[in-house]
């Protein structure tokens, strides 16, 4: 019996004609122009220290003695200090072409309870309150940004995926699209299902078989045509971006690696790599006008935990890709992993607000003013000096 269902649905695609009195003549004349922005929300807390491994920091192997790091784990050297996790190996051509960058030791201003839900809401809302309180409008920063960009088309911005994410929700109508979905269970969700069924043999046995079937179906070699769900999301986004859409957002989940991180992180990381390579491939010449920002709600603890995993932390990494980049680089200020360098003696100390980098991307792509970004899009952010990651 097949358990595949069509969950696909088309949501609203309303007319967005929002204009703002704050617009400069320049933006009025050209925006949204030809520049494309893709924002990927990495849900579950991506471990930036595993994706972009600071091999040059002597403390790393002491903090994570059982992780396969660097060469031992097949990671590829980036700049002599950082190395890229093996599962993201498909991204190396982008790195070589100067179309991939990272920002390390970034986070949102959220310093609350390290809750996924609050953390993600906060990331998507773009506010600046360390407790995680959302801005009054409880809307998404990409949606607020739309108010500053004259957009005559109904599909200037689209949310791709089963659920319209907060990042694009708000007063400005946006398009939404969903692919056919399958029983799509992240490693963490599978683990949690096993836990809630553990005490009930009837459910535990049925779930055991069900999840096994689901895992078999998801194995890439079982069905080469279906390399996971990020591929169709990215392909669809690219197709739309090749037409009138200029801004697209979707999510990749499965990063919550509390157990056996080595195995767990592979799938979402491959999905992310597939998403980026698919975007480049399908966007063709438009890749040169595209910027991709992939960001997560928080990083993870610097020390491995008792289950060969990591727990919810603070500082992490952000991924930037696209033909618009100046060069391949790991940006940011490295705080170090020494005893005193950690936040609360457990987390990577964030040295940058990730909103700064998103803000500079908006400025570079759409000519938004610093004032608009610091007041409307990311209230309270200090854009500071241009990190100059765009060409």
């Amino acid at each position: 019996m097949t358990r595949r269902r069509l969950l696909g649905q088309t949501l609203l695609a309303g007319c967005s004609a929002a204009a703002s009195p704050l617009l400069t003549p320049v933006t009025l004349a050209s925006a949204p122009g030809d520049n494309r922005l893709v924002v990927i929300v990495l849900r579950g807390g991506m471990d930036g220290l595993d994706v972009v491994q600071p091999l040059g920091d002597p403390a790393l192997t002491r903090l994570r003695p059982d992780f396969k790091l660097g060469e031992a784990g097949g990671a590829a050297d980036l700049d002599g200090f950082f190395a890229l996790h093996k599962a993201a190996g498909d991204l190396m051509p982008l790195w070589s072409a100067g179309e991939l960058s990272f920002v390390h030791a970034v986070s949102t201003p959220y310093r609350g309870k390290r809750s996924h839900f609050d953390g993600q809401d906060f990331l998507e809302n773009g506010g600046g309150d360390p407790d995680g309180t959302l801005t009054n409008g409880r809307d998404g920063w990409l949606n607020r940004m739309l108010s500053l960009v004259p957009s005559s088309r109904t599909d200037t911005a689209i949310a791709v995926g089963r659920h319209a994410p907060l990042i694009l929700s708000g007063d400005n109508p946006v398009g939404a699209w969903s692919p056919e979905a399958d029983l799509d269970i992240s490693a963490q969700a599978e683990l949690l299902l096993e836990q809630i069924y553990a005490e009930d043999p009837l459910f535990a046995n049925a779930a055991d078989t069900a999840l096994e079937l689901s895992a078999e179906r998801d194995a890439p070699d079982m069905s080469p045509a279906r390399a996971g769900k990020a591929e169709p999301l990215a392909a669809f986004a690219a197709e739309r971006l090749n037409r009138d859409t200029r801004i697209a957002a979707f999510s990749i989940g499965g990063w919550d690696s509390h157990r056996r991180q080595m195995g767990v992180i592979e799938r979402p990381l491959k999905e992310l790599a597939t998403a980026l390579t698919t975007l480049k491939e399908k966007l063709g010449p438009n890749w040169q006008r595209t910027t991709v920002l992939a960001m997560t709600e928080f990083g993870r603890t610097v020390r491995q935990n008792g289950a060969l995993g990591t727990d919810h932390g603070t500082g992490g990494a952000m991924v930037i890709a696209g033909g618009t980049l100046r060069a391949a680089r790991v940006h940011g200020t490295w705080p170090g992993l020494g005893e005193r360098a950690l936040l609360n003696d457990r987390d990577l100390m964030p040295t940058n607000d990730l909103r700064r980098y998103a803000g500079w991307a908006l400025r570079g792509l759409y000519g938004l003013s610093s004032v608009d970004i610091e007041r409307v899009v990311f209230p309270g952010v200090d854009l500071g000096l241009d990190p100059k990651f765009l060409a």
């Binding site: 269902r5 993600q120 659920h163 963490q188 005490e199 779930a207």
Partner: protein, 453 residues
Amino acid sequence: MAIPRHVMAEIRYGFGLRPGAPTHDGAAALLASLDRTDPYLTVGGRADFATRATLVQDNKDARRARRKQEAGAEEMYKSSVSALRKTIAADIKWSVEAAMLSPQPFRERLVLFWSDHFSVSGPSLRERTMIPDMINGAIRSTVATSFPAMLRAVITHPAMLQYLDQSMSVGPNSEAGQAKKRGLNENLAREVLELHTLGVDAAYTQADVREFAELLTGMTFDADGFRFRPRMAEPGAETVLGTRYGRGKATLGTVEKALRDLALRPETAAHLAGKLITHFVGGPPNPGHLDQVASAYLENHGALMPVYAALLDHPAAWRGEFQKVKTPFEFIVAGFRAYGIPHKTLRQLEPRVLTRLVMRPMAAMGQPYLSASGPDGWSEDPADWITAPGLAERILWAQMMAARFGDGVEPAAFLARTLPGVASRALQRAVRRAETREDALALVLASPEFNRR
């Protein structure tokens, strides 16, 4: 684990908690709800028997015309099929609405229980079009009165007469039988004895089945509804379980008398008591509980209110352990209730959304709408529902609901209000640890605690 009484009442005897909906704090409150008028007995806008019969007849006519390749028949057939589908879709919406919103959820659960006791299902659209009329007209209308009244109403309803072939059964010595060389069909007679009244373990014989089948002849229906046709009825007396019924000319009164006698036998009392307890509490029934319910039934001549009182007024009825699993329909309704989906949203659901949210998932979870595989209805065994694909569908549905209705819903609060005193520590922890809000909300509906009752 101490589950508050009002929570247990809603979960075991209703469809779970719904934010803002009044709860029932025990047996007395549940019983009192049955004393009030059923707001869903006469809701306007539902197709009545005549309308349904006309739609069915139109479909039959169109089918015949199409077979003869008459001009315009194809169009006629298509439009008649679409009319049937529309009626069925409206019925489903209506069933979900009644279960989800009725202030008397116990009544709705009883309607479902008795509909399953008298299970009628249909492979064809025509059959499925008639069944809701039986549920509403014969079961809902008698659910808080008496079992003999319900039995009579159901057994004389066209949907049942058709489903168990009674309308085809002709007394061999009747006028019609002699003229057309047609004969008896034992189907309904056997099922009344085996499923509806005495139960399969009772001491009846094939001879009883045969005699009872002869007794039932003459019961048929036409476009106006039930008809007793003496021309089809076997003349003379029949002996069922040692009692002689009728002599000379067959009458409907004789059939009614026999049905009433069967209904009031102790085997029937024990059979119904066992089924009620197994359905609501789980089986095998506690012997004291069983005896209490069966005695209430017999002492009150099949009156149902005292039976429900006896069902609820026993420690076993409130035992903290959840033995049963919600059927797919109960699960789906409970999910809608948990999210507090408003009436308006339900009313406005487009047919394709209704298909995606209710009909297709019900079928995928193993309970296609009005399509039980036999007259014995749906399984009472949890293991038949919680299979690998069945559970996978429930997980999938839970995810779909979270995606569709989870906006702004705080998972911990959702869990707390949906399963107060019920959620295990493991579930509470899992909901906290889920990596997305949607995953967390989905875990609540996918949990054993939510799926059991």
